[in-house]
Symmetry: C2
Subunit: 442 residues, 2 copies
């Protein structure tokens, strides 16, 4: 008999069906046993009128159940389940796989465990409906970005993650032996996406990025997924517009697709539909000073508390969870950032803040070969290490720029999670690859 | 004035427009100069009636041209260009970026250069319309897989590429120092995608995979893109069906989207619409023996020439460029492969061949925890190295299986390319990361 999914049961009242899934919870009422069966579409209640058929069943056992779908009396409808108006009276049960006893109760509405346990039992904790919802939302964010990038005419490309030189900071990079040469894991696909503007004009890509940062924070991972755009034949104002618009569309798509998940997680939708305010860094610093009396106007960058404060301002004044900050000091940005021709001390750079956190960074890029080589030398780097990148500029590169969003960070902020590790299926940090790493001396 | 793309020019006869793009070729006729301008949509001819306006222009310069779109006389229509019935009479030109002299002629229909030069000048050679077409087809394959996987109900997931143990062959893996512990780049996302079946039942993912194989062949890379599916609550026959169907849909989608590119490259569409034939390995060996008189019936695997021969058979007999081979010897397959219960010497495994080459490999998996641990030990491996993977099986794993396709290999075979390096934007092999690596002693 063809499988019926949990979510389909309310349409099958009076019919015999076959369910397949996991025992989510089991309630023993003596002669009768109830289980909530979980499959990829949700939960449905199964009743065993003869308790002995189900007395061995335990949470996470995988079972196939043949049974009859019955309407429940009005007063017994469970409004918390989309399938709450029916239950399935089990006729036959087949155990497909057993599970060992769980280390903690996973049948509760929230998983009441700390982060280390959440991650130590990742293959188990990911099964919890609230955790599953996080990664359904993550999938929707990825899809939303895919669509938003396509809408502005970008071609999807696939960039390598193994690099012959460390281009953006030497210490924080993973290096390894590559057939007796030294190689590196990329810290971003930046140089390759810029090259690809010389080919397709507008490109987007998903890439793994690697950062060997020896610090543990709530918003950094050693391996993460980056969603990148790079766009040719544009000016700075268009870039700023596309930066905000692309992200707003991404989030709007995810919110629409995951209304159910967001509701389930109790997350209020983000305000991303209206106009996105835009300030220079100095304007932002001045507003923050006026609002708080704390003077960061001499700082070369926004501090984390500044990002929070100016985001509050954007929300109050523009009803927006997004705000773009532009014109960071040239020296604080990557070498390929175009200085502002009107005041080269500041650059044609931008950050996008989302609910108080930097979610994207980018800039217009230097596109003139000689200027780029000069900057590389000025910063004490060797143009030889940028040979393929520079080749693109030798053979005609249009004015261009771009931006990128972290997938885990976007997920974290969309869902108001406290720690970025909650937004990564199997987070890697300096202390953990799946499990906590053994402590070793340097 | 808003930019007009090359492809839009035939709709703008009699209008003044602005073009932006690269000088693809330049033809000097004394008083008059013609250039073919290239943008992301193709080529359009621009004529400079006053040669001095264009005398400095050289291939790959990036320019903005204001001009008048004119219909060409019937006899001058260039049928090779989609924009061949018009030309743009230049009124104004602005140089956005110059290019240095090209090392070889890129304006010819084919790039007449060998593979090393093709790759040494990758940032330049990727601009050639024939090379661009390869990567438009690659994008379409990725999109096609995305859609095909969604159609069968898979959730997209993002698996890590840093691993704490080397799980599928020790020598051919890149290892590195990870905060004073040893870590590895994954050779496949296999273990993580199986874990995710315990969560979402059906998953798909794009992943980078890394193989430190010290050999140079026409069909292997050290870093490549893998497209994976893993599916729960299925039996072997369904898996074999989904293996072929998913790939057939992927290729059919790409062929439909890239009709123009395939025509341009002179590639005949693959035969993927009909029924996909299916043989066991032993049946295939017997057919090959009958057809060729060469007896490989004692071999434990199909040899490359066997794959070619049986693919010919499939094409002749079934008019299919695809064929599935099943039941490879259990010992020749990965530890997690389910042995055939009726004859455990052979396994519930399969390969998909596409135009004579293995394009996918997979199997039904062992889903019972104790059986899996026993196999790991039998093969001399340590269950401790599979701790997170095994955790998924401890807590209830349904019957499942899966398959994966290499993106570059799919691109190569779709387009009848001779070397997989042609199907990777920036191929990594034991001799090359962008450029040829320096030779070093071990």
């Amino acid at each position: 008999m063809e499988r019926t999914l949990a979510i389909e049961t309310p349409q099958k009242i009076g019919q015999e069906i076959t369910l397949q899934g996991w025992v989510n919870t089991r309630r023993d009422h003596g002669k009768i046993i109830f289980i909530d069966l979980r499959d990829r579409t949700g939960l449905v209640q199964v009743v065993f009128v003869d308790a002995k058929d189900a007395k061995d069943l335990r949470p996470e056992w995988v079972v196939e159940i043949k049974g009859l779908v019955k309407e429940r009396p009005e007063k017994l409808i469970n409004p918390k389940l989309p399938t709450g108006k029916v239950e399935v009276e089990a006729k036959e049960i087949k155990v497909l796989a057993k599970a060992k006893e769980l280390p903690f109760d996973t049948g509760t509405e929230d998983l009441n465990i700390g982060l280390p346990v959440l991650l130590d039992y990742r293959a188990l904790t990911l099964k919890h409906p609230r955790i599953q919802a996080i990664f359904k939302a993550q999938e929707a964010i990825a899809e939303g970005f895919h669509q938003a990038a396509k809408e502005i005419g970008c071609t999807e490309v696939f960039a390598p993650t193994i690099s012959a030189s460390s281009t953006e900071g030497g210490a924080q990079v993973f290096r390894f032996n590559y057939f007796n040469c030294e190689a590196f894991m990329v810290q971003s696909p930046q140089l390759y996406k810029q090259i690809m503007v010389g080919i397709f004009e507008k490109v987007f890509l998903f890439s793994h990025i690697y950062r060997a940062e020896p610090s543990v924070t709530t918003r950094h991972l050693c391996e993460s997924i980056q969603m990148d755009c790079e766009i040719g034949f544009v000016d700075f104002d268009e870039l700023v517009f596309l930066l905000g618009k692309t992200f707003a569309k991404t989030i709007a798509y995810a919110q629409k697709k995951c209304t159910k998940e967001l509701e389930f997680l109790g997350v209020a939708p983000s305000l991303v539909e209206g106009k996105i305010p835009r300030l220079t860094m100095r304007e932002a610093q001045q507003i923050i000073f006026e609002r708080t009396g704390i003077d960061h106007q001499q700082e070369k960058d926004l501090m984390p508390e500044d990002e929070k404060e100016i985001s509050l301002w954007a929300r109050e004044k523009y009803n927006s969870d997004l705000i773009v900050i532009t014109h960071f000091p040239t020296k604080k940005r990557a070498f390929y950032t175009m200085p502002d021709p009107e005041n080269p001390e500041y650059s044609l750079s931008y950050d996008l803040l989302y609910k108080g956190l930097e979610i994207s960074s980018g800039s217009q890029r230097i596109h003139e070969y000689n200027e780029l080589v000069a900057v590389i030398k000025e910063r004490g780097m060797n143009p030889e290490n940028f040979k393929m990148y520079l080749q693109a500029f030798e053979y005609g590169m249009p004015p261009h720029g771009g931006f990128s969003y972290g997938l885990e960070r976007s997920t974290m902020k969309l869902l108001d999670l406290e720690n970025i590790r909650e937004a990564s299926l199997f987070p890697r940090d300096m202390e953990r690859i799946d499990f906590r790493l053994p402590k070793k001396e340097a």
